[in-house]
């Protein structure tokens, strides 16, 4: 998401507030019809030359999807029309490992988004998904030599089926929720990572998810396995063009953090305001392992996303640091889910939300402590910043504690940008715009500090952009 100055200017002047709103012209290789049925699911599976068990998994998942009602909690899902969406759009014949093999218009899109520059400067590997397929991926040779696998989930299924038989759909089963079922039926693209025992990947691996076609669904599926004593930082970025009709992004992310391993998963999404973003993310963490979700949610019409951590081995640790910004006509229903399934496990959740111009943000969180998970520690803090009278923030914390020897702390604060704070900063010669921007950035700072520097700078800039004209 680091944007070169040259393209930044172009984007700013062309698209105003939402700077990722451009659309690329692409001659797609394959476009599915819009009717969600077995034929469609088989067609996707065929395009991908999948093993039979996966085709069957998809068909079964579609059944589950059809049976499950829409959730009645969270946000308003009634305006999603499942029969007007493109479920599968394949922009080119296969995933390329050199940019010059990628469709020039797609190349240009990722160039404009600053992804190619980021790849050169500070990434160990990059995957770029355009609509339904990963069009480009590469990873440093040194990592390949150590046995690291970083690939599109589709390729990995063909080349490393053993991982899929063991883990795929085991962390997030198809019947977990309606959108996990939908993803399981029509999934395409996403990232597969395997980090072998004891291997530490110093620079982040990144995937970028770009939705380009109107009225489409993007259903990437990500599976990350960090073997014993290994570590990896994975970053995902997401954007889409502005359009008047709705699109759907329903991803499933499954992570296995084995003994003494560490996974950090950072999301920076700034969806256009017509996207329904309904994502299921979950990590299983074993003995002394550590999972950190850093989740920054901007844009979209509705986001429902609650990164989950199941602490399944002694001494496992989990952290969720999240930031949500809800603007006009937006609802960010985000939170976290922590399950303490083993003794001496600890969790930390820090959730911050900013609501402005009539936007609504909700924190929805669950902490569950299973019987026998003695001596666990959990700390949850939610802070909401509300910028005007029309905006709203709610907190829905839920705790299910089946064990007595636990230490759990929960704090929630709601604050407003007050006239006093603004007056204080302005009395030092700083404009109203910049003053409010400072207050917002200051509020978000405890989350932003978990990002790599390049992304922190970019996020601060996005926040400033979000703040333009929001005060007064």
């Amino acid at each position: 998401m680091a944007i070169p100055k040259r393209t930044k200017r172009l984007i700013d002047t062309t698209f105003g507030d939402y700077k990722f709103g451009f659309k690329s012209k692409v001659d797609n290789y394959f476009v599915s019809h819009k009717h969600l049925d077995n034929t469609l699911v088989k067609e996707i599976s065929e395009q991908k030359k999948e093993p039979l068990w996966m085709t069957e998994f998809r068909i079964k998942s579609l059944e589950i999807f059809n049976k499950k009602p829409l959730p009645t909690w969270g946000g308003d899902l009634s305006r999603i029309n499942f029969n007007t969406l493109h479920y599968y759009i394949k922009p080119q014949d296969s995933t390329k490992t050199a940019w010059n093999k990628v469709d020039p218009n797609i190349q240009e899109a990722f160039d404009t988004l600053g992804i190619r520059e980021a790849e050169k400067e500070f990434l160990a590997g990059l995957g770029a998904q355009f609509d339904s397929e990963v069009v480009y991926k590469s990873v440093q040779d040194a990592l390949k030599d150590k046995g690291v696998i970083f690939d599109s989930t589709d390729n990995a299924l063909r080349e490393h089926p053993e991982f899929f038989k063991e883990y795929f759909g085991k962390i997030v089963p198809a019947n977990d929720n309606k959108f996990a079922a939908l993803n399981s039926a029509v999934w395409s693209g996403g990232t597969f990572i395997y980090v072998p025992k004891g291997v530490h990947i110093d620079l982040p691996l990144q995937a970028y998810f770009r939705m380009n076609t109107e009225n489409m669904g993007q259903f990437e599926r990500t599976l990350i396995i960090a073997d014993e004593g290994s570590s990896v930082h994975y970053i995902e970025g997401c954007t889409a063009p502005i359009s008047s009709s709705n699109s759907l992004h329903a991803a499933v992310v499954e992570i296995i953090v084995k003994k003494n391993a560490k996974v950090k998963y950072t999301t920076l999404q700034d969806w256009a305001h017509n996207i329904y973003n309904l994502v299921t993310k979950r990590a299983f963490v074993y003995e002394n392992g550590e999972m950190i979700w850093v989740d920054c949610n901007m844009g979209s019409r509705l986001t429902m996303k609650y990164p989950a951590i199941y602490l399944l081995g002694q001494g496992a640790k989990g952290e969720v640091h999240s930031l949500a910004i809800a603007s006009k006509n937006q609802h960010q229903d985000a939170g976290s889910k922590i399950v303490h399934g083993a003794p001496n496990t600890s969790s930390l959740v820090s959730a911050k939300s900013i609501s402005k111009d009539g936007g609504r943000s909700s924190y929805r969180g669950l902490v569950k402590v299973n019987k026998g998970a003695k001596n666990i520690k959990s700390k949850i803090s939610c802070d909401a910043l509300i910028l005007d009278k029309n905006s709203r923030s709610d907190t829905y914390p839920l705790m299910k504690i089946d064990e007595e020897e636990v230490s759990i702390a929960h704090e929630a604060t709601v604050s407003k940008i007050g006239e006093e704070e603004l007056f204080y900063l302005m009395s030092r010669g700083i404009s109203e715009q910049e003053s409010s921007s400072m207050i917002v950035n200051g509020f978000a700072e405890p989350i932003i500090k978990h990002l790599p520097m390049e992304y922190a700078i970019e996020l601060n800039r996005l926040l400033e952009l979000e703040m333009t004209g929001s005060v007064g």
Binding site: F423, Y424, M426, S427, R428, G429, E434, A444, P446
Partner: protein
């Protein structure tokens, strides 16, 4: 000799929507002068400074504020700061996540319309921090966060020192300070005053700070207007005898 800068308050009437607080107040301050305003609680002292700085809570009904004869009555606080006005807050605000140093550098750049490098700026700020006996960790922290009452007041004077205003309005800068802190704050004010020859308008309840900073004028404010002006002896007399004499005379 004509003063370098002037701040004039001309027949000022101001207050909140429901309440008139400042009623026909006039005062002229030249650069290089120290004025002190004293008065009972609720007499309009703090309101006056907030009105001068442009707090949105207050409305100016009539009258003018002129800085070097420029009418700044209706300017927003940031524009007033650009023109050279500064106010230290009686209760400085805490702003989480915004470092004092970064904030002050932004303010300085914005007022001077120049760009000072972070390293050069850090040297400047450390020089004044030393004068105020502030630690490096305090200037690296978020604005006023976790500061004691005394540290907050020091942070206000640090900001004044960096921003080098033409006129500084100090609202009870001495309240909440222990004897040592009072001394370092007062000495810092004196030093900055000497260096910049700014005009100072101090509000205080106590004569104590005036042992360090010698005023040229002392004004008594009551019911939103100045009822008596005098020299430095007036403050001492007030401390001894109280306001009764001046107020009942009215």
């Amino acid at each position: 000799m004509t003063p370098k800068h002037t701040l004039e308050i001309k027949s000022l009437y101001a207050g909140t929507k429901d309440k008139k607080i400042i009623k026909n107040l006039s005062l002229k301050i030249n650069s290089g002068e120290i004025h002190v305003i004293m008065g009972r609680n609720g007499s309009g002292k703090s309101t006056l400074l907030n009105v001068l700085m442009g707090h949105p809570k207050y409305e100016i009904e009539k009258g003018q504020i002129l800085l070097n004869r420029k009418n700044i009555t209706k300017l927003s606080p940031d524009k007033k700061a650009e023109d050279g006005l500064f106010m230290s807050f009686q209760h400085p605000i805490e702003i989480p996540g915004v470092s004092l140093t970064n904030f002050l550098r932004t303010a300085k750049n914005s007022i001077t319309k120049k760009h000072i490098s972070p390293i050069e700026f850090l040297e400047q700020i450390k020089k004044y921090a030393k004068l105020l006996k502030m630690t490096d960790s305090q200037i690296e922290r978020s604005i006023n966060q976790g500061f004691s009452g005394g540290e907050k007041k020091k942070s206000e004077i640090l900001q004044m020192a960096i921003l080098e205003p033409k006129f500084a309005l100090l609202d009870e800068i001495d309240s909440g300070l222990d004897i040592d802190a009072l001394k370092s704050v007062a000495n810092a004010i004196k030093e900055i005053f000497k260096k910049t020859k700014m005009g100072l308008l101090l509000i205080t309840h106590y004569q104590r700070i005036l042992n360090y900073i010698t005023p040229d004028f002392v004004h008594i404010i009551h019911d939103g207007k100045i009822i008596k002006s005098g020299g430095k002896t007036l403050a001492r007399e007030l401390e001894k005898n109280g306001y009764e004499k001046y107020i009942s005379k009215k």
